[in-house]
Structure formats: structure tokens, C-alpha cells
Amino acid sequence: MEMQKLYLLVPVAPLVGAIIAGLFCRVIPRWVAHTVTIAGVAIACIASYVIFRDVMAGNTYNGPVYQWLTSGDYHFEVGFLIDQLTVTMMLVVTSVSLMVHIYTIGYMQDDPGYNRFFSYISLFTFSMLMLVMSNNFMQLFFGWEAVGLVSYLLIGFWYTRPTAIFANLKAFLVNRVGDFGFILGIGLVLAHFGTLDYAAVFAKAPELAADTRLALFGEGEGVALMTAICILLFIGAMGKSAQVPLHVWLPDSMEGPTPISALIHAATMVTAGIFMVARMSPLFELSDTALSFVIIIGSITALFMGFLGIIQNDIKRVVAYSTLSQLGYMTVALGASAYSVAIFHLMTHAFFKALLFLAAGSVIIGMHHDQDIRNMGGLRKYMPITWITSLIGSLALIGTPFFAGFYSKDSIIEAVALSHIPGAGFAYFAVMAGVFVTAFYSFRMYFLVFHGAERFGLAAPHHEDHAAHSKAEKHAEPDGSHADQDHHADDAHDEHPHGLAPGEKPHETPWVVTLPLIMLAIPSVIIGYIGIGPMLFGNFFKDAIVVDAEAHPVMTELATHFHGAFAMATHALTTPVFWLAFTGVALSWFFYMKRPDIPEAIKARSGWLYSLLENKYYFDKFNEVFFAAGARLLGRGLWKGGDAGLIDGIIVNGSARFVGWFATVVRLFQTGHIYHYAFTMIIGVFVLMTLWVTRA
């Protein structure tokens, strides 16, 4: 009983904070808003740790909180499933969220939407916790959509910016495409299992999987039930975890404030899809087709999104593409049946990627909201804590031995190498190539920002990104002369003006910003070393993750290669993976520190390739032309052609017109002249008499 109250406390504490800060955001002072929300998340974090200890002692839990709905034979409940997988996620979510809350005090200090922002991020924490703690698909879907809502609100946080409100609508709609598949998958689960409760569904799955096929495409042997369910559920994951081709929203989501890029669009929400597939491992294990689909989508994302990171100049976008690529790695691990490895990488990534984002945010503050890495350089002198923590984050990201990212990423690569699922060969190539690409773009950014010549403070920055940005800003205020000046004062939260003035130097950020960096840097170094043994090979997850060891023996084989965390790191120095990463770092140093003319020359020579990358493989263009404009065209056609033309024009008003026309014709006989009537009457009498006479 005691523990059940604690379970409930975890999501409720941030919710209460969010409600207080949200409902009263216009009346309470700032310190109240950040105190209640931080207190809420801190309580959730501490409670999660207590629950973690309890679960480690073997006390898992699965039970309802309340009956949400009954209908027919179906019952829908709100309930919690507390097991090893859940507590891992709870710890990751609450601890990163706590760091981001603290960081926000510094990052948002000049923003008029300060209280609202705290309300949103606490609401996010609540939603994410409901998602991971759920014991059924209904509540999973609730959390799934709720995190999407908060993401929408936060991407559009600076709602006067046209780019931000474009990005948040895009994010919501692309996610809805994923949710469309997701809800159909849930529907299939309910239709065939008669329940949405995880435990009941998982228990029944092997039996149903054996001989249930769906005749979805007319005659023929049909599609295996598990394949259909898993692929549909995974489409949901593709939306939330930004897998190709539903990845298009994530880079644009960088329009939101940096703290949420770290919390939502790197560490937690985007990993919901990874978590979901791991949670559904008992189902995915039953369909090799679905696993192949997963591994192929993941490897495409891992490699091709990495390439895009190379040409980005906005510091946040580099990190965003890196996130896409790393999510691809996690997905590849899922496809290889190495679910625990995916969760392990999810965890390490949450720490080092949140660190990289927050460090990027720190740089942005130091640069007075100039985000272009070409205007930086040599920042290590001015921002030492940001510099060191960024270096740690980057080293972790590229998989430097002994750092957190090394253990998780190397395990993914090993697992893929051992997998025999169709598509694993391509995936192995993709993740290997990805290692080089990751190292290259990560250290390109690192060198350009922290080393080399100081390029900031030069008068009037003349580069295209900035010009485009200011143009968009002008667009946002089409008639500034008309608009009330007071409202413009309100809008001062827009991050303006950009950049440092000539001669101005960047400064290290205050402690509320640097403390979270340090706090996140620690796990970015050590958590892999500590975690790999128990999490991957120590039966940490027990029954929370199910792997069919007969059909997919990846993890058991991986275990035979594992001789401890230290040996793994030292052994890595002799593997191609390490040297690929090393080459990536070395090449970026050579290109951007020694010979900046070389990348320029490459850029100039490879016209079509560069414009392919510059346009992000034309996904956005295609979506805009085909889906967005196509839908509007279809809508206009149906409206003007169908509703206004056919139904109203011909049928409704047409029948009215017919009545009118008929009346007009008939009216011609009503002339009002007595001799017309008399004449008609005589003719009539004459005709009648003729008929009478001839008949007789």
C-alpha cells in the first residue's frame, strides 16, 4: 500500500506544480513558479529513486489506479506497471527533467513567459511519466499524445515567430501521422486480444501469433497478425522518435527554447518510441518481418541523418541531426532484438545529449543568441566550464572508450554484427559508417565553437542564415507602425538582438546554467562503465524485456564476448570502430582547423550533392508540395466542385431554380388582359366541342 501511494506521487507531483504555475502564471511571482515546479520534479525524482531501490529488491507492481471506461466486454483502466524497464525510464526522465528545470532559471531569466514555461515543462514531465509508467495501451496512448501536445506548445513557445508556429504545427501533424498507425495497431490488439492490458496481451501473444493471419489485402494468405500489429505500432514510434520519413519535424523543433530541445527533443520524448518498442518486446519478438522493417528504418535514419549534421551551421541543428542519427542507432538495436542495448543507449544518450544541448544553450547565452557556429571560435578561453563539459559530451557521443556513449554504441554495433535478421547486413554498414560521420560532425562543431580564431563580435554579420532569419522577423511584424508599441514591449522576449557587439567578449554563464552541465557530465562519463555489466548481461531487466533466445540469440552471443567493462574499453582500441571515430575527429581537425579551404573547395565542387544535403534530401519540399498543397487543392476541389457546385448549385438551388422557371413559364399565361382569357376560353370550348362531336 505504501509503495502504491509513492507510485502515484511520481506523476502527480509534477502535475501539481504544472497546474499551480500554469493557472496562476499571471499572478504569482517568478520564484514561486520555479520553486513549485522544481519541488514537484525533485519529489518525483527522489520517489523514483526509492522505487528503483524497491524494484531492485524484487518488488515489481502491476495494478490499476481507476477504471477509466467500460464498454461492452472491454475494460479500460488507468494503471501502473512498475518494473525494471519502467524505473530506468523514470530515473532518466526525472533526473534530466530536474537538471533542465534548474537550467531554465538561468536560460529564461529575461523571458516574460517564464512562469508559463515552467508550467509546460512540468506538465511534460507528468505526461512522460504517465507514458512510461502505464500498464496498458490506452494510457500509453494518452501519454503519447500528451507529450506531443506539450512539445507542440513548447516548440511554439515564442508564438510571435512565424518559424516557430510553423514548426510546431508541422511537428504536431507529422506526429499525428505516426499516431494514425499507432491507434490502428492498438485497435488490432483490442480486436484480437479483447484487452489493452499489457500483461494479458503479452501472455496471450505467442498463442495468437502462431496461426492468426489477417486478410487485409483481399484473397491470399494474408498478413500475420503480429506483423500487422508491430508495424502499425512502430509507425507510431517513427513519428515520435523521428525515424525516416517521419523525421522532418525534429530539426524544425529547434525553434523552441533550448532547455526543451534538451529535455523533450533529445533526452526523453523522442525516445518514447524506443521505449515503446522495448516494452512491446514480447510482441515484436514474434514477427521477424516487423523486426526487419525496424532495423532497416533505423539504419537509414542513423546514417543519412548523420550526413545532414555535417553541413549545418546552426549549433542547435547540428545537435538535432545528431539526435536523429542516434535515435536511428537505438532503433537498429531494437530491430536486432537487442532491446536492452537500445534502452542502455537511450539512457546514456539522454545524459550526454541533454548535456550537449544545454551546453549549446550556454554557448547561445554567451553569444547573445547568435546560433551560427561560423561566428564563434575560441570560446574555450571565455567559457571554460561550458567548454570542458561540451568536450565530455562530444567524446561520449562519438564513442570514446570508457565514456558512456562508447559502451552503448559499441554494444549496438556488436549486436548488429551478430544479428541474422534480414536487413542486418545493411544496418551493420550503416552503423559503422555512422561512427565516422558522427565523429566528424561532432568535432567539426566542437572545433569551430571552442577552438581556432575568434570570429565573434565582428560588426554586422553578413551570412545567409541570419539574413533569412531577420527577413522572417520582419515578416512577423508586417505593419509595426500600426501595432501598439506596448505590445511590442511585451514581445521583447524574442531573442533579439542577435550576436555580440563589436569588441564584446562572451562570458561564462551563471551557476544555474553550469551546475546542470556538470551534473550531466558526470553520468556522461561514468554511467556506461557502471551500467553495461548489469543492464546488458546481468539480467537487470528480468521479465520486463522478452527475447526469444532461440530465434534471436544476439544477446546471448554478445554475452560470451563480454569480459567486463574495462576489458571492453581496452579491447576497443584495436577495433575498426575506434579508428573510424578517430579518423573522423582527425579529419575534422584537419579540415576546420588547419585547412578550411578544403571543405570550401569540396562544397564548391560537389554541387548536386551539396544541394541534396542542403535541402535535406528534399523531404520538406515533397511534403509541402504533395501533402500540404495537395490536401488544400483536394479540399478546395471538393468544396467548390462538390458542395457548392454539385450539391448546392445543381441539386438544391437547381430544384429551386426549376420551380422558379416553371412558375415563370406558367406566369406567361396570366397576362391580366380580359380578351386573352376570353380568347383562351373560346378556344377551349371549341376544342371540347370538337372532341365531343367527333366522339359521338
Binding site: Q67, W68, L69, I165, L169, R176, G187, A191, H487
Partner: protein
């Protein structure tokens, strides 16, 4: 309590209040008329509360039954009663009347007494429709309720109100005539009974069932409205005053859907099964076709009107899959749509009262001047897009899930609303609310006052309460819906 004629009170308290309000006469007494209207509406809501608290969930039979002879020569009775299907709508309707009176408080300053009396009388008549168990009584209420709405659009409406009022009236009248023929046929065939429950038991041959079903279909499809007889609704909404739109969307659209459950399914079950494919096809067209049409609307009211049609497509879809979750999901969707579309129309009315435009292009950046309004509008926009934790989700979720069980591709088509519904609602929201202040009209907007805040809160309680805890709404339906399904499964052909 059992002796109190609760349903009669639900019908006649608002009607009586309406006449009292009418008696206050000219606009010199407008404050008094408003106060009396509010008292009447709240009293009308209060008398319906015991219908829920005293409701017996275990029985599918009619409850709170009242029976009195009306026209003995034709065996016409004043016969009232509710079951788990109709009872929620009596309460919803009485609730909506309160919001409507509040919504028109300062806004209507012309013929105040007549305006409010119209709504109160209509509220009583609508309650009559949901509780009538006699065919003639039902028909009288059904037709009489048209008159106040017709007058409200025709007198307090926009510039093109006469066209809209006529179109509304003729469309619905056309359907009603066929309905009347069906009622007369049933009267004759049942050996002179107008009791709807007797008709449920009446054996009817297949071809007669088919004709009856089609007559009902035309009558109810116009009311719902279903594609392709929906074109009166956007015009009526555009011209109607805010209160008229709220009642039209929240209650009047539910009459047709209710008719399907009370007449079509139980009276012509074999024809219902036979022709379910037709209704499902029309429902899917409503969901998809209308969704795309809503996307390109330039007038906010038209957009929400089209979105209403798409949402009602879920209702008819849910009914004709003949599963408990489908029907209950459809009923939930009907109630939810009452809260959500009512709130959406109210939100548009709030903006219209200030800037006198419903064109999306005339707005932009409303959040800068009306932050409280923007927060409420966001809530209801999300509910309209079917976000979990709002009532809009529950009905869609249940119907989609029921549809997967029925046929995967039907569910596939219906679930497309997840994308299209979000697209039209949030794209409108983005263009109207987000962004920098677009023009001096927007710059001059003032945020919602206490009265508007209260109306939004009332709607929000409905939308959020039902989203977070739908069980109290559905548990009253179970017995009646199960009985209906059992009944519909039996053939009436002998």
C-alpha cells in the same frame, strides 16, 4: 422523489420560463429579462439532475415514465420516459441552455426578451423530443423545435439570414414529411398505436422495412446532417447568432442521430443490417470529404460547422457497426461534441463580438491581446482534434477501436481524422491566435470578461471531466445499449 413528474418539469419549466420572459416585453426591461432567463435556465438544469442521480443503471426499461391520454380518438398519449440513451441528452440540453443564456448576455441588445424566450422554449421542446415515447408527441416536439431556431436565425442572424433560414427550414421540413408518412404507416400497421415501444415489437416484412428505413434515413440524415444533405448547416451556422450556433451544434444535430437509435434500428432491424453498408459509406465520406473541405474554409464558423459534420460522421459510423463499443462511442461522441463544438462556436462568437469578423484572414496574433482567451481556445481546439484527456478523444477512440473489429479498412479511413482533424483545427488556430499582432483590430482586442470566463469554464468542465473520467457517462448507457443490440440482432420478418 419517485412521484415527481421530472420529465414534465424538464420540458415545461423552461417553456414556462420562456413565456414569463416574453411577458417582460420591450427592451426597456432587458436586465430583468436576462435575469429571469438565467433563473429559468438554471431551474431547468436543476430539475434534470435527479434524472441522473435517481437513474437505475441495471434496467434497460424506460424510467421516469409518465402516461396521460391526449387525443383518445387516435390513441395519442402524452407518454414520456427516458432510458440510458436519451437521459444524458436531456441533461446536456438543459446545461447548454444555461451557457446560451450567458453567452448572449451583453451581446444581444435587440429584442432581448424574445431572444431568450426563444431559447428557453426551444430547450423545453428539445427535452420533449428526447423523452417522448409517443410517435405523435415526438413529431410535434420535433417540428415545433424548428420554429424557435428558424426565428432565431431569421431575426438575430447575419446579413444573409433569410436565405440560410429558408434553406435550413426547407431541408429539414422535406425530411420531416417522409418521417410523418412513416409514422402514419406504423400507426395503421400496428392496429392503431402511436406508442414507439409498441412499434419496436411490430413484425414488418423486408420491403416495408426497407421503405421505412429509407424514410427515416432521409429525415434523420438531414438533421445529423450526413453527406450529401449537409449543405444547409454551414450556411445556417454562418448566419446564426452565437447562441443559435451553440444550440444547433450541441443539441439540434443530435436529434437525427437520436432518431436512428429510437426509430431506424429497433423498428427496421433487418433493413438496418441490410443497408448498414450504405450508412457506413456515407459516414466515411462525411469524415474524409468534409475533413478536406473544412481544411480550406476561410470563415471560422464554416470551418467549425464542417468539422461538426465530420464529427457526426463518427456518430453514424458507430451506430451502424452494431457493437456495444461502437454505439456507446457514438453516444459519447455526441455528448462530447455538445461541449466541444458549443465551446468552439462560443469562442468564435467572443472574437466576433469584438472585431466583427469571422474571417481567418482578419486575425493573427490574438494571443498577444487575449491570452486567457487563447488558453481556453487552445483547450477546445485540442478537444476538437481529439486529444486524449479531452472528451473529443473518448468517442473517436471508441469508434475507431470498434471499427478495427468491424473492418480494418473502415477503421483506416475513419482514423484519417487523426491527421485531417488536427490539420484543419490547428491550422486555423495558428493563423488566428499565434503570430505577431496582425492589424489594429487585433491590437484593440480586450481579453475575456468574467461572464465569458464562466461560460468557458462550464464548457471546460464538461470537456475535461468527460475526457479524464468517461465512466460515469457510459455506465448509464450499458443496459440500454445492450438491450438495443439484442433487439436489433433479432429478425422481424415473419
Amino acid at each position: 422523489m419517485s412521484g415527481t413528474p421530472l420529465l414534465s418539469l424538464a420540458i415545461w419549466v423552461p417553456i414556462l420560463a420562456g413565456f414569463v420572459v416574453l411577458a417582460t416585453g420591450s427592451d426597456r426591461n432587458a436586465p430583468l429579462a436576462r435575469m429571469l432567463s438565467l433563473i429559468g435556465a438554471v431551474a431547468g438544469l436543476l430539475v434534470t439532475i435527479p434524472l441522473y442521480t435517481g437513474f437505475d443503471m441495471r434496467t434497460p426499461a424506460m424510467q421516469f415514465v409518465e402516461l396521460a391520454t391526449w387525443i383518445p380518438r387516435f390513441n395519442v398519449n402524452y407518454h414520456l420516459g427516458v432510458d440510458g440513451i436519451s437521459m444524458p441528452f436531456v441533461i446536456l440540453n438543459s446545461f447548454i441552455t444555461v451557457t446560451v443564456v450567458l453567452a448572449g448576455w451583453q451581446v444581444i441588445d435587440n429584442k432581448v426578451a424574445q431572444y431568450n424566450a426563444g431559447f428557453l422554449i426551444m430547450s423545453g421542446l428539445l427535452n420533449g423530443i428526447f423523452s417522448a415515447l409517443d410517435g405523435v408527441l415526438f413529431y410535434v416536439f420535433f417540428e415545433a423545435s424548428l420554429i424557435p431556431l428558424y426565428l432565431i436565425i431569421g431575426i438575430w442572424g447575419g446579413p444573409n439570414r433569410v436565405y440560410a433560414a429558408f434553406k435550413f427550414f426547407l431541408f429539414t421540413l422535406f425530411g420531416s414529411l417522409l418521417f410523418l408518412l412513416a409514422l402514419l404507416y406504423l400507426f395503421i400497421n400496428s392496429g392503431g398505436s402511436f406508442a414507439i415501444l409498441d412499434w419496436h415489437q411490430l413484425p414488418i416484412g423486408m420491403s416495408a422495412q426497407t421503405w421505412l428505413f429509407l424514410a427515416f434515413l432521409v429525415a434523420f440524415a438531414v438533421k445529423v446532417p450526413m453527406w450529401p444533405v449537409h449543405t444547409w448547416l454551414p450556411d445556417a451556422h454562418v448566419e446564426a447568432p452565437t447562441g443559435g450556433s451553440i444550440v444547433l451544434a450541441a443539441i439540434a444535430l443530435k436529434l437525427g442521430a437520436y432518431g436512428f437509435l429510437r426509430f431506424s434500428l429497433p423498428i427496421a432491424p433487418d433493413a438496418s443490417h441490410e443497408l448498414s453498408g450504405l450508412v457506413i459509406a456515407l459516414s466515411l465520406i462525411a469524415i474524409i470529404y468534409i475533413g478536406f473541405v473544412a481544411l480550406v474554409q476561410e470563415d471560422m464558423k464554416k470551418l467549425v460547422a464542417y468539422s461538426s459534420i465530420a464529427h457526426m460522421g463518427f456518430v453514424t459510423l458507430g451506430f451502424f457497426m452494431f457493437s456495444a463499443m461502437g454505439i456507446e462511442g457514438a453516444l459519447v461522441q455526441m455528448i462530447s461534441h455538445g461541449f466541444v463544438s458549443g465551446a468552439m462556436f462560443f469562442a468564435i462568437g467572443v472574437m466576433y463580438d469584438r472585431a466583427h469578423s469571422r474571417q481567418i484572414a482578419d486575425y493573427g496574433g490574438v494571443v498577444n491581446t487575449m491570452p486567457k482567451f487563447a488558453a481556453f481556445f487552445m483547450l477546445f481546439a485540442m478537444a476538437n482534434a481529439g486529444l486524449p484527456a479531452t472528451s473529443g478523444f473518448v468517442g473517436e477512440f471508441m469508434v475507431i477501436l470498434a471499427a478495427v473489429d468491424y473492418n480494418f479498412w473502415v477503421a483506416f479511413a475513419a482514423a484519417s481524422t487523426m491527421i485531417v482533424g488536427a490539420a484543419y483545427t490547428l491550422w486555423m488556430y495558428k493563423r488566428v491566435v499565434f503570430g505577431a499582432v496582425a492589424n489594429h483590430h487585433v491590437a484593440d482586442l480586450t481579453d475575456i470578461n468574467a461572464r465569458e470566463f464562466l461560460v468557458f469554464v462550464l464548457f471546460a468542465i464538461g470537456a475535461l471531466g468527460m475526457g479524464l473520467y468517461p465512466q460515469p457517462f457510459t455506465e448509464v448507457m450499458h443496459s440500454s445499449v445492450n438491450e438495443l443490440l439484442r433487439h436489433v440482432a433479432l429478425s422481424k420478418i415473419q
